[in-house]
Amino acid sequence: MKRLISVLCVLLALCWAPAAAAQHDHNAPGHVPHEAGPMRAAPWPKDLIELAEGLPVQDGGRVKPFHTFAGFSMLRLSGKRSLTTPAGDRLTPTEWMLDLLFFPDQAHTYEVFRVDDIAAVREFGGPTDGKQKRDRWSFNELAPHMTQLFERAQSYLAIDEKQRDTVQTQVVMLAHNVDEYVRVSRKTSFAQVKLPVGASAGLSQVFGGREQIHFSELIAKVDDLRKLQEEIDRDPARSGEQEPLNSLLQRAVDLVESSEALAMFPPITDATAKPAWLTPSDVLMGAFSGEGRAEEHLSMLGDLERAMEARGDMPAMTLALASFSGRAKQLADRRGEYEKVPLELVYYKSKLLDYSHYAFVLGFLLVAFLWLKPSSKLLYRATALSAVTAVACITATIVLRCVIRERPPVSTLYETLLFVTAVGTLSGLIMEWINKKKLALSAVVVLGTLGIFLANRYEALDKRDTMPELVAVLDTNFWLATHVTAITIGYSAGMLAALLANVYLISKLFGIKKDDPTHLKSLSRMTYGALAFGLIFSVVGTILGGIWANESWGRFWGWDPKENGALLICLSQIAILHLRMGGYLRDFGIAMATAFGGTVIAFSWFGVNLLGVGLHSYGFTSGIHTALWSYYIGQWGLMAICGVRHMIENARKEALEAQARPKEQFAPARAAGGRAG
């Protein structure tokens, strides 16, 4: 039996090597020969899609719905969450993933691999006819050039990530995506073909004289095969049977893919003893290594084989998948891993965040009209209603995420965007509720629209599960709840203050509501309020961060870039408040300084992660560079214009005063500046 296992181990190790390269190299051990498979004639039935969407799978270290897995896979490959087939049908990620698993030859015609620069495709000799600079390619289009693609990618991998140019980065990413695609597609290849038993008396006896068997039937007969191996070992006359046995096992191994992605078989033991879910490859290995095989897993393999055989007959396929899904849910539930899966599906399918975004955008439009017609009570109420709805939706989004992951609201960079938007808009609503000047309300809809837009952009750039498992040091609810939440509220209030300050600057620049002296005054007071609110959380959050660092790394402060960023926020806010206190800055100066403070927050929030040094570079932030610099330059530009304008105005005012003043009288000494606001 030892021999059997070692053969299996070697074979499995062999097919671990680049799956994609093997797919098209017909001599490679991983190659699965098959004729062109069937094409899907009808759209996927609704009940089957619903089944598939809620199927629990393990990916990225956690159990999640198939819907989430498919969504992020498609996002990673194509940059969006829907796909148009050559026939013109629009597919959801789940439909696409089902095609990839059950109708691979059809899925290979879909243009799903996005490349941002066509030069990257030219780099490895891929087809470029009829393609735009930024376009998508299908697997079939890339397939003939696979070897060159992987060779190029391999050579670029040797270059340090930061030194790679865009084309090199694109080549590496494309190769990575193709590899992942092929690995996922191979998760069901065991069900696509039958294994020829081969000419051997022993094998023929084991499988009852059948010429072809299913993969699951092979595993079901593991004990008999083990016996057969012993008999062959004992009886030299039967040595001729070794070759057919090896060849059968080799074919079985060729069919399975052992990569980490997409595990769909929950172990039958409890979750602490065996946290990792299984793939068909693990089921095969488990059976032959004597770990034992579970009847449930055999049945699940059988379900997939039946679903595959029923291709074309959608009701039969649905039935087979329903059986698979039922078993998977039951096993997962027994391990206590299923509970949150339906909720996560509800989270994604309810599209609460999208609704929040729509409501903010609607509010944004309404506010524009409101400023044209400020006296309209109806418009005011409509705007307020839409803002309240939006804030309620984003709050519900965050609450749902907390419940699903049993974590405080912020544990990733993506979640800071959601949380900052939610806290900022909620604080704005409260301000509006207190003073009803429409200013805070305007800030709320702008912040909300922008915040969710950025969150969506970030998700599309990062392309990874936004509710991931965390590295060891972050995996602590106490510190996530205290330090991270506090510091993020600090960001949020600071950004709200910066936004209000910008409203002040723009109002002043364009003379908006010039005749209403309370307009600028209210803005100024609200800016101050947000700043003060922000300071409390920035300071407390920063110190709490130090206390956490002291608990986990043994030092309170280490001048790490992220720590420095937090300190910069605190220092800038302290400086502004003291400048105000000392009378060095009046309303205009405070607005300028607070607007600048916004760029300090952006530097600390995202900018330091771009430096690529320090302990906090967990977020994947390439591509954010442009957005960040646009903000810096836009903000500083506006400040420069406002500053120049302010100086000119002051000079003019002084000149006027000088003219008006009787010549023989000296100018009275200026007041040293009292407390503003």
Binding site: E260, A276, A472, L544, S552, P561, H578, Y584
Partner: protein, 387 residues
Amino acid sequence: MKFIDAFVKGLSSIWLSITLVSLLALLTWLGTLEQVHTGLFEVQKKYFESLFLVHQVGPLPIPLPGATLVMAVLFVNLILGGILRMRKGASTYGILITHLGIAFLLVAGFVKAYFSVDGHLTLFEGERANTFESYHHWEIVVLEKLPDGKLREAVAPEGRFLKSEDGTRVVLDSAELPFQLEVTRFLPNCRVMPKGPMFEAPLPVIDGFFLRGEPKAKENEQNIAGAYVALLEPKTGVRREAILWGATSSPWTVEADGRTFGVELRRSQYLLPFVLRMDDFKKEDHPRMTMAKSFSSDVTVYEGSTSRPVKIEMNEPLRSQGLVLYQSSWGPSNARPGDRLFSTLAVVRNPADQYPLYACIVIAIGLLLHFGTKLRRYIRSEVREAA
């Protein structure tokens, strides 16, 4: 008197506070950007642990005060202007409390900077130790094996011989030793090289070897120091020269006055008040991923005749007798399942360990009090206006 008055007034002015806070912000910003090019340790020394520094903007040198100086002056400014001389009244209590908290936080920083010791303790599973080792500091030690089998150590911390970096001779002596040790040159980062026939060695060659100075590594822990030393016996007038290098595994052995000594350059070692045994190190990954879910070390702490098992893991250090031990690292990185692992614990002795927590609470109370009062007043006025 007038001058002193003006001086105190200036020192306690809000204008000075704003300048200092801005300077600190500037230093923080520069020190952050500098880390892209220079290692954290060097940046810390230059910008944050210094009194003065020169920052280069292209070819333009800009002299700046170091963060230590800025914070020291800020502390005085805060005490004088923000606490002692500040107007006291119902509207300023919050601010007063906040300033006290900040002052306390600065105190914590100074205590940590001047009274703390840090290092690490690296043990394979099954090993035990009663010392820990510095990451950054070196010491020269003379070892003597006593008849009862114990080792006696005479230690010279690096503060006593660092000045020989430029070739200044430094003599180390102890009444216990029958000789003097002369350090003729100390190199903060160097390699031992054999002298070949085809080149001139830049430094003296001893027994066919010399020390080749290297530029300082970005991570200070990677630097390996070396020193040229000479042993002088006053009785006989014999002088013996040797090279000491920080990465050698055995000391230089010499006979003097009929006794045998070992001389060694090593990273500074500190005594633990207990013996620690590394029982087991565990690293757990997230399922089907190579991302770590948790690291933990099971250790046994022997204090006197008692012993107790302790689990040290991420975010859960061991605190005992003024020392804190943290899970810091592990290895070997290429270990296969079942291999014997080592675990590195960071060790810190910091009298101000818990001060920041107290400061944080004080500051939070102060700020909430101050801005809470302001908020209440603001809402009241808005409501009145609306009415």
